[in-house]
Symmetry: C2
Subunit: 203 residues, 2 copies
């Protein structure tokens, strides 16, 4: 059976780097932005538009995640958000069926529950997240520490809302994960390697 | 510098077994009940009495944890609770100074902050905790699943209260730990070994 590893993460905590290193160590596929590209191909919507739908606070219409989506997906649907979530759902299931992989975000821990994923949550303290963001800020973009802090809080608030909306569970609640890793005190490189070894021993 | 590893744990989640295995793997000291024995020696109070003070819900008199305790400790103090906390504080600091070690519970993550401990929290879902308790229940003691569940909830409620009282922080909040490990899905044996390897790589 394919081994599916899902990574929930606070913005700026290094979840993506951790996931990439873990996938490299285990020699398995890594999916993050690739999911947006796939949705774009399937829905004919621009990647930027899909990203915006995933980033913005979710509207609160009633929704059921599951196979029912397959039936209602329609590229000219009035409700584009529902189509995007539905297509994402399908794509995640396809990826999990295809091969072992690491998937970043997108409530994959919940959507792929039937695949018994190993669910990791990556977090760190605010100081570490701000430092990490400063290191990675695109050239020419100057944000103060206060602005960065507000941005981090706002992005994580949206992630929590999105997770709550799709799963009905609390984002970052330890009970929804097998392992929660604080990257303030751990080297991401070593953590990915040793957690990789631990997962391998279960494979 | 000595490596100090502190283990917070939900009742029935296997935190003690994890800590013992981790200490064995790393070849360092392991302290749990030994702390009660030490307090008993120093205060001349019975071990059972000390255990009862640690287990019961904390009274809410104002208290400051820190060196100030050294001055006020007095075996015939009217306030035995304060003496026990103070002595525990001293003993934890002595243990951390003596050698690398694993310490179970007792807010050691907070009390030994200056030693930069590696702080682990062990938890699991209720089903796993109940199964574990059933396996380990003393002969002749028969508790229903419902009674066990109530006992687990009650013990953890007291642990949370005690932690909040001593540290001012929320017990089990991921931000107070470097790693949170769910023993519902992970083998304690393997987790202890691989997390041991990870800690070693930082030593």
């Amino acid at each position: 059976m394919n081994k599916i590893i899902t990574i929930g993460r606070e913005f700026g905590s290094g979840g993506r780097e951790f996931g990439k290193r873990l996938a490299e160590y285990l020699g398995i596929a890594y999916y993050d932005k690739e999911i947006i590209t796939e949705i774009s191909k399937k829905t004919q919507l621009a990647e930027e538009y899909i990203q915006a739908i995933e980033d913005k606070p979710i509207s609160t219409f009633p929704i059921t995640i599951g196979n029912s989506f397959y039936a209602i997906f329609n590229p000219i649907s009035e409700n584009v958000e529902v189509s995007v979530y539905a297509e994402q759902n399908n794509i995640l299931v396809d990826m999990a069926k295809r091969s072992s992989c690491v998937i970043i975000g997108r409530c994959a821990d919940y959507i792929l529950e039937e695949f018994n994923p190993f669910r990791i949550f990556i977090y760190s303290d605010m100081k570490t997240k701000i430092s990490r963001c400063i290191e990675r800020v695109p050239e020419g973009e100057n944000l103060s520490e206060k602005q960065l802090k507000n941005q981090i809080i706002s992005i994580d608030k949206n992630r929590a809302k999105y997770y709550q909306f799709i799963t009905g569970n609390k984002w970052g609640d330890r009970l929804n994960y097998d392992l929660c890793v604080n990257t303030s005190s751990l080297s991401i490189k070593y953590a990915a390697e040793y957690i990789g070894k631990m997962i391998e021993s279960k494979m």
